[in-house]
Each structure stands twice: as structure tokens, then as C-alpha cells.
Symmetry: C2
Subunit: 344 residues, 2 copies
Amino acid sequence: MDELTERQKLILALVIRYYIEYALPVGSNLLVEQFGLDISSATVRNEMASLAETGYLTQPHTSAGRVPTEEGYRYFVRQLMVHTDLPDQTKRMITHQFYQARHDVDQWMRLAASVLAHYSKAASLVTAPHPEEARLKHLELISTREYQVLMVLVLVGGDVRQQFLALAEPLPQERLSAVAERINSLCRGLGVADILRVEAQLAPLEKDILRIIYAEMERSDSMLAGEIYHDGLTNVLAEPEFAESESARRAFRVLEERALLHDLLSRTVMTTDVGGVQVLIGGDDTWDDLRECSMVLARYGSPGLATGTLGVLGPIRMAYARSISTVRFVADLMSNLVLGTLAE
Amino acid sequence: MDELTERQKLILALVIRYYIEYALPVGSNLLVEQFGLDISSATVRNEMASLAETGYLTQPHTSAGRVPTEEGYRYFVRQLMVHTDLPDQTKRMITHQFYQARHDVDQWMRLAASVLAHYSKAASLVTAPHPEEARLKHLELISTREYQVLMVLVLVGGDVRQQFLALAEPLPQERLSAVAERINSLCRGLGVADILRVEAQLAPLEKDILRIIYAEMERSDSMLAGEIYHDGLTNVLAEPEFAESESARRAFRVLEERALLHDLLSRTVMTTDVGGVQVLIGGDDTWDDLRECSMVLARYGSPGLATGTLGVLGPIRMAYARSISTVRFVADLMSNLVLGTLAE
DNA sequence: TTTTAGCACTCTCGATGAGCGAGTGCTAAA
DNA sequence: TTTAGCACTCGCTCATCGAGAGTGCTAAAA
């Protein structure tokens, strides 16, 4: 598998480093001068030819420099990349911001999206933390109008779902509270698979409510999460590969197609452990819409309690080291937040 | 004010109609042939020269056709445009979709954004319905973990806010429920201005909670709304004026700058009656970031109960008639939904 | 007085082609 | 095995040029 010599690895790494920064094909002379190598450009040329043979480099046309292939990037990310970490100063700053927003889930999400976009200089996406299996924690029924009720469903893990119900006949708040209390006492902690078992013990009205709860929980279960927060779209537009709008459109379609995004986030990321960072380069032959993009994704949260997904999306020529360190740091931070043990 | 002859109005309208469709400067010959006018191109040229003098048309360069100026568009929208309406068939379809989503506010918003984007072929934005003054309807305190409580605040108008609270000492659910019940009975229906008056009657713990509620309500009051839903960004990228990413970036910056957007939506739209549609062309000299864009905005909802804002954003060369009819229709629909489901 | 035909003029756009230069692959020497 | 040298390739930039669309002006026609 690892048939590259040390020198080839060095050259591949330098080519990618340069290309990531400048988006220009890199030639042998340039490389030698730029990085002060003490081998000649002819040697570099030979090595490059060999790397091209292996499939890690390619040239846009005969007399241009070399450009990394997708395989080249994959090798780079797997083997060559220097794993950096955000500077402590930066970490402290981000942590502080999150600390100030610690009470409001909505604010976390927005902050996470903003931080990811800013430090990775790419587009970011974040889904709200979400229990893997919906389990009922608490039900509240609040009369709003004669024939209408606001149902607030609190799930284990902090997910809250609201819905308006229409009534066949007006019911007083006391009656509603009694119904809620009854369902609460019977169903607390039950998951979507078990909740219908208590149906037999309930009165007709209570049964109706239970069915609605069940439907809502199932919906909550089958979707990865509700809203997907994002930020930094303009970062992507700034990249030269998206200079003409057509390629930019293809990239953005991914972000607008909620279904696709959910599919993507669940399929890819659910296979990764919390804490691990997943890198998806050029769609990895599975996601056609992502052929011109790369993503760096991570799951955060606490398995069994609630997890979410966050990550960044940029061109294949993405600053992987920076993106990965940012994604990892923010994912860890969010995990701590979800656990409620955010340390200053 | 209205110093244009009928023929000039006709020509201006035709130029704009053609330009909106094809994004190409329109010349005198083209106009005569395209629309089968029974005047000669020379006459059209004279009229065009006159319209250029008045400031409604301009030419990109000496020997190109004419292009509408911002003033031209404004005149068109004010005086010339044929006010159309969506086809009944389309209306029924949209109404039906909303009807199916009638229970879930989150789904309305997404649907509204999607419908607006689809029919106006531009980018859309929608804010959630939001009461003008926050008033407490119901408070719920739910113990989630030993030292942590989920506070659910239901405001009049259907706004729901959640927040996690950290406790100094663990409290049982019964105790929390009692606190919530006490605050509910004292504060139900009170607005942000009055709610602190009951403070004297409360125990220390209850006072703390009340202060948090107050802060949350005030925050809710000062912001126009939380999340801004949007859709159809790729529609904007498809327009030729945004073919190079630089102008697209400028347009999208508006959508990413939440502060700017809130400012924009509140300042512009709050001056408009519910039911009225506001057209903002080229930033109207106030919004520099919008210089290359136009927006069609409307408020929806019921004043005094809850209102929100929705609209579309596109190039100045926007299909105003279609956008306006779509925005108006969706705004009306959403108003009915808010009234239907949220009225006291 | 208004409209129109005619015409010279202007200016963009697209195609063509030359020259430049960065970069390559190959060969032969170190 | 590495390197210097060299011929060659090919995209990029720039200038040129003709075509075509559109204009403004003038003078005749309505």
C-alpha cells in the first residue's frame, strides 16, 4: 500500500501544500526554489512523473505544472498531513464565546456555524443535538383557544417539539393537565417502540393524544434533526474554483437540498465514532452532487443521550489541516456543552 | 410627476419587459419587430432618447441598446406594471400544501420559503411570526438532570422559548412544578413592562426565575425574530448578473449578515401595513450591500398578536409582477394561518 | 409639427494569430 | 542515481480586424 519513498512523500506533501494555498499548478522549478530543496528540478521532475504514474498527481495539460488528484488528497490526509491544533489563545476565545451562550441551544448552533465558517474559511453546517432514539421525558398540554391546544413534547436529551392540536370540543385547562399528567406518569422514559403499549390503559381522548405523540416521536426518530444551521457560504464563493456561478450552484445545491443533506450526514457520519473526524473528498464516488467539493464532518454529543453533526464544506482544494482541527475542536466543545460540563 | 406620454410609457414598459426576460440591452429595431409596433424604429429611437434624458433608461455604451435605470424600474413598478395574480390552480395547490403543514410552525416557514423561491425564481426569506410585545402565556420547568432544568416559556402568540438553567442545589420536579405554577398564576398575560411588578410577592428562588424570564422576554422583544428561513439561493446564482462570483458574494453577504437582515426587515417593513407589499429597488440609496439587488417584502400575521416578515431577493432585473403576486399571496395565506391557529 | 427613411459613425464581440514563458521529457554526462 | 542541457509543447496574453447591432443626425415625407 505504502509504496512511496520518503522523498516522494515530501514532494507530494509540498505540492499539495502549495496548491492548497495558491490554487496554481506547481512546477518542478517553483517547488525547488520555493521550499529551498537541495535537489535539482530534474530530480523533482522524475519524482513527479512517478507520482503521476501512481495516480497522486496529474497535469491539467502537457506543459503545465502538477496538480493533486483526489487520490493524492486522500493519501495526504491519511498519511502525510501534519496534524495541527488551534492555538491555545484561539481555543480560549472560542470557549469563552460558547460559555456566554451556554443557556441557549439556538445560540450554540449559530455560534458553532459561525466559528467553523470563520476558522476553516469554508461553508459550515451544524445540526442540533438530537437523541438517537426518541424517548419521552415530559408532555405538556396548554389551552390556547377554545378548540385549540399547544402540545409541548420534551424528549430525553433536551429536544423540544411543539405542535398545535385542534379539538372536537372545548376542554378546560384542568382537564388537559390531567390528561398530560396521566400520560406522563405512564410513559415517562419510554421510547418510540414501547410507547404504544400503554394504549390499552387509556381513555379515548388520551389515546388520540398518545397517537399524535407517537407520530411526532417517530418523525423525530427518522430524521437526523430539524433545522440545519449554516454559515460562510460566501467563503466558498471566494474560491477560484467557484468563480463561475455554474460550479458554485452545483455546490450550493447540496446545502439547499435538505433531503440530500440529511442523507449525507446520517449515512456518512453515523459510521464514525463521536470524537472522530470524517473527511469526504470529492464526494467519494457516492455523492455525485459533491464531486467538486470536500467535506470535513464530525459527530458531537453523547451517544445514547443526544448527538448532532457538524462540519464544513469547501472545494476539494481545502485547507484540510485547518478544517480538521477546527471541526475537531468545535465538536469536542459542543460535546461538553451537551454534557453540561463546560469548563472555562 | 407624470410627464410621460402614453407612447413613452408603452415603450418603457416594453423595454423593461424584454430586459427582465432576456437580460440584454434592447434596441429600437428589436423592439419594433419583437412587439409588432406600427411606428418606425426611428420614432422609437427618439422616444428612447427622451426616456434616457428623463433618467428612466440608459445605455451601457454608445452603440448598444437601452437598459432600464433604477428609476426606470421604480416608475415601472409604481405606474406601469400590470398587476397579475397567481393562477387559481396554483393558489389552490399552495393552499393545500400549507393546509397539510398547518400544525407545525417550523414546517410553514420552510414551506413558505420554498414556495416563494420557486414561484419568484429568486432567493426567499421568511421570519417566524412574532408578537410585537412579548407577553407570558405559560411557564414550565422540567428537571432534566440533577443540577439542570429546562425552562420552557410559551408566549402569547405561540412563540416558544427554551433555555437550560443551572441550579445551585438539586431540586425535585415537584418543587419545580410548584414554582412554575406560582409564577404562572401571578404572571399569566403580563407583558415585559409589567412582569417585574410581582417580584415582591415571590420567594428568592422564584425571583431568580422571574428575572431570567424577564431577560428572555426582553430579548425576544428587541429582536425581530429568531431564525430566518431562506431558500432558493441557487436561483440567484443562475442570473447572469451574478455570473462572476464577486457580485454573487456581495448579494449573499446580505443573507448571511443576520444583524443587517434584521435591521433591514424591521426598518423597511415595519413602515408597511400588513397586506401591503414593499418593493426595494437597488437598495434605495440606504442599503449599500443591496446596491445590486432588489427585494419584495411583506409583513404577515395579525398586528397586536403576532407578525412576521417574508419576501424575496433577486437582481434588480427581477420579475417584479410575478414576485409581487407571489409574495402577496403567501403573505395573505400566512396571515390566515396565524389567525386561524394562533388567535386567542 | 411629427414621423420616417437613409446614412455615417461608434463600439462591442468573437475570431485569428503571434510571441512569450513556464514547464516538461529526454539524453547524455557527472 | 543525479543533474545539466535542450528541444518541444501548449496555454495565456495581447493586438488586430471585420462583422453586426445600434445610435444620432439630417432631410424628406406625411
